[in-house]
Symmetry: C2
Subunit: 317 residues, 2 copies
């Protein structure tokens, strides 16, 4: 699995490995597509600019219809990019061992977990014990960016009373989760020759003015929106400007710039409420205009919500 470098939209290799493994273990894998026709209107669906024709989740159902509480094993097959590769001491998708540890992108988060949950079933069988309760194995795509893979499984009814997710967190009962939102912020500029930079409008400079506006929102969340148990944590809501790009030439005033960011939000706040808060900071005059009215007078920046649109939740355990 680690050898298959399963970043976004390159999941085919790892899906083939897992499908073959499930088949070899007589676990009858079912391909569960991410069907945008069905899921597109689901309130938890995360809109994305790519398509879903060529990827799917793999599900294996044991003892359907049996009595007793039902259990789901859920793990994801996708990994986040391992770039820049030159910061690795070895090849990122060539697994290696160092005494007890397996290295290589995805071995920690969470392909070891996926292997463990599948082989746990096999181990029980080989030990001669019988699994009688309903048990569903879900191996999903896009845990790292949308959650649309797991959503598709649940929406098709591959659900249960309990779920065990062998993410590398140690043995923990998860009773809550923050909301997570991804978004892009885009600015245009007016490109001119660098000889007279003041004649143009610098898209990178304009874009960078908006990071403080989002830092303000992050601070506001941490000051005024801490529902328990997050009131006990020092800084539960984190903004990450994870990717930036802008301009195309050192000697041209940049005409376009954008960043991609992730910001978490409290349980109880809906995704649409939070999207409005983000949009207000970026697109609405009362916020960004306070410090930089003139800069954005002619053309406002734009926010595009793509990827995670996951609301938080709290369960009373």
């Amino acid at each position: 699995m680690v050898k298959q470098y399963s970043v976004l939209n390159q999941e085919q290799g790892v899906l083939e490995v897992v499908e073959r493994q499930l088949s070899d273990l007589n676990l009858s894998p079912i391909r569960v597509p991410i069907d945008v026709e069905r899921l597109g209107s689901h309130p938890m669906f995360a809109p994305v600019p790519w398509g879903y024709d060529h990827k799917y989740n793999l599900v294996s159902v044991l003892n359907p219809g049996a009595s007793g509480k039902s259990l789901v094993f859920n793990g994801h097959l996708d990994v986040v990019p391992a770039t820049p590769f030159e910061m690795w001491t070895q090849r990122a998708n060539e697994p290696w061992r160092d005494s007890e540890w397996l290295y290589g992108r995805g071995s920690g988060d969470m392909q070891s977990g996926v292997a463990a949950m599948i082989y746990a079933v096999q181990a029980v069988r080989e030990a001669g014990a019988e699994i009688r309760s309903p048990l569903t194995i879900q191996t999903v795509v896009e845990e790292e960016c949308t959650g649309n893979g797991a959503l598709a499984c649940v929406e098709r009814g591959y659900d249960g009373d309990f779920v065990l997710i062998p993410e590398p967190f140690g043995p923990t009962i998860y009773s809550g989760q923050l909301g997570v939102m991804w978004f892009k912020v885009l600015c245009q500029g007016t490109p001119v020759h660098v000889q007279d930079t003041s004649a143009g409008e610098d898209a990178i400079e304009r874009l960078l003015l908006l990071i403080p506006a989002l830092k303000d929102l992050e601070a506001e969340l941490n000051e005024h929106h801490r529902v328990p148990p997050y009131d006990q944590m020092e800084h539960p809501f984190n903004l990450n400007v994870g990717k930036i790009s802008g301009g195309d030439w050192a000697s041209s005033v940049p005409a376009h710039a954008e960043f991609e960011a992730r910001l978490s939000f409290p349980p109880g706040m809906t995704a649409s409420q939070f999207m409005q808060m983000v949009s207000d900071r970026i697109e609405s005059e009362p916020y960004t205009a306070t410090s930089c009215h003139a800069v954005f007078a002619k053309q406002r920046p734009v926010v595009r919500f793509e990827g995670f649109r996951s609301e938080g939740h709290l369960i009373d355990v």
Copy 2:
């Protein structure tokens, strides 16, 4: 020529068009390579991360060895990127006319000029007049990023007493020029999961701290380094952060970020003196450390000088 979108390292199409034109007009084009073996040690050579095996300049020499002052017509064939294309109302490399004006990337800067200087020779001939003095036509690559094309021509002896450059500046006698320097600034970070951003070091945030350091240098140049005639101009030295990129994933603390910038400097200051000034601002503790010592304590940012390394000059006319 405009149809050939001749951005950096895609100059082949326009070179073929111009070579054919020069041949058709009996102007016997000579290919002048950019020979790094010869030019690499030239003090004016601009080091670059790409190679020169597949591009060249085109030169045509009339009346070599004739008596009289010699004239050079010089024009460049390369264009700066026209991206983002969606800001164009028509296709950037599909020329179109609007009454008296020709549009399309390169038609202004400066392929009309190149066409005009070549056809000026032809027009004089067709008028029945004879050109008797030495005249060299130089059409060069990489005017927009290094100057290595024109340097190669001069180093091979394709030089003259006067030069006419039909850039779109109107009829002007150029008696001076600012120095121009390109450089990249690179920062690494420590990538971590966004759940605990404070555990990592954000390469984008680190990088952005360095733009004010360069703005300081720009201000210092404009305050304290204005030799005449630049003392008469409002803001002769301009910094342009023209390109930025960093990070690879909205939910990962960015591990790498860099920008490409251009900054001009006064005649009389050598390229190496100026490079030292830029390096000091970015890499040396006394400058960047004043405001952000802790951030750069473990790992300094790096400056890489690629592209323009052109000193300024002043000629007494």
